[in-house]
């Protein structure tokens, strides 16, 4: 009798794993890769201006005074268009937003900003995704909260929706 019972164990285990696999297949896959640089200082960088009208961006622009947003974006990125009004709303709340344009051309940047508004205080041009890789960002758009000491405090992946704005404002307040 005891032996009979133990004979069922492998089958039960198999059924458990098959069930688990079937369940996991139906679950939404987390396809974002989060940065593991949260709590770390911003790496050293100095990027040239992305277009004529605004200065470029460097690590030094993030130190002193108040926390800021670092927005990774590109003129060729469709969700960045959807995000533009929310960046404007954040700017209206007094938030300084420093942009980094990924793999972009000056004329395209200028065109995008004239069409969808310019919420940035400065925009650095990262033509080979160098700074993007250095801060652990894996796509556009992404937004980082950087505190006054230059520490990376929070990462928002994907475009900022209207209901993400309060969360970002709270994270900026926390980084104060």
């Amino acid at each position: 009798m005891r032996i009979r019972f133990w004979l069922w164990v492998p089958l039960a285990l198999f059924a458990f794993f098959a069930g688990l696999a079937a369940y996991m297949l139906t679950q939404e896959k987390e396809q974002f890769v989060a940065s593991t640089m949260i709590g770390q200082p911003l790496p050293d960088f100095a990027l040239p201006p992305a277009f004529g009208a605004l200065p470029g961006a460097s690590k030094a622009d993030f130190t002193g005074g108040k926390p800021r947003l670092l927005n990774i974006w590109a003129s060729w990125c469709l969700p960045c268009i959807a995000e533009a009004p929310q960046l404007d709303a954040l700017k209206a709340q007094g938030v300084e937003i420093v942009g980094i344009a990924i793999r972009d051309r000056p004329e395209d940047v200028a065109n995008f900003l004239s069409r969808y508004g310019n919420p940035y205080s400065r925009i650095g041009s990262d033509t080979i995704s160098e700074v993007q890789l250095a801060i652990g960002s894996s796509g556009v758009p992404e937004t980082f909260v950087i505190d006054a000491k230059g520490l990376i405090r929070y990462q928002h992946i994907g475009d900022i929706r209207a209901d993400d704005v309060p969360k970002l404002l709270a994270e900026l307040e926390k980084a104060r």
Binding site: V33, S35, M37, W76, C77, I102, R103, S129, G136, G139
Partner: protein, 147 residues
């Protein structure tokens, strides 16, 4: 009428196909994205490393296999860092510090992955224990019968 329907159908098919094209940049690839290093020894080092790094945009490909612009930029990082004298291990650790174990196709032992390595060893030990006990017993019985 049928012609219009057909044209509409074609447009419906073509629209989603053309969408990803819109979300691509028009910049030329980074210098070392598609150009090999001059020194074949260094290029071999870079190539081995690139095959073991995951593309962040196209997550089931290595950066060596992917044509995504970001994979090209990652290859540029790998090659230019190798050229600057960094070791493949240093570069891998630099990327893992930014993206976690995820970026590595070679499983790393860490606080989340250690069971992957521990469980097989444990199973082998248990099986070895059971086998030894059973075989040992049987040999003992054989010895008993022979006597």
């Amino acid at each position: 009428m049928i012609r219009w329907l057909f044209a509409g159908l074609l447009a419906l098919i073509a629209l989603p196909l053309s969408m990803p094209g819109l979300a691509q940049d028009t910049m030329p690839p980074a210098p070392y994205a598609y150009n090999q290093l001059d020194d074949p020894r260094l290029e071999a080092e870079a190539s081995t490393l690139m095959h073991s790094l995951r593309c962040l945009k196209c997550q089931s490909q290595s950066i060596a296999d992917s044509d995504a612009p970001m994979a090209g930029d990652m290859r540029h990082q790998v090659r230019s860092r190798i050229l600057a004298g960094e070791s493949p291990d240093q570069i891998r650790r630099w990327l893992i510090a930014r993206y976690g174990d995820y970026v590595s196709y070679e499983p790393e032992v860490s606080s989340t992955t250690w069971p992957l390595f521990a469980v097989p060893v444990l199973v082998i030990l248990i099986v070895a224990g059971v086998l030894l006990r059973r075989l040992g017993k049987r040999r003992g019985d054989d010895a008993g019968e022979a006597a």
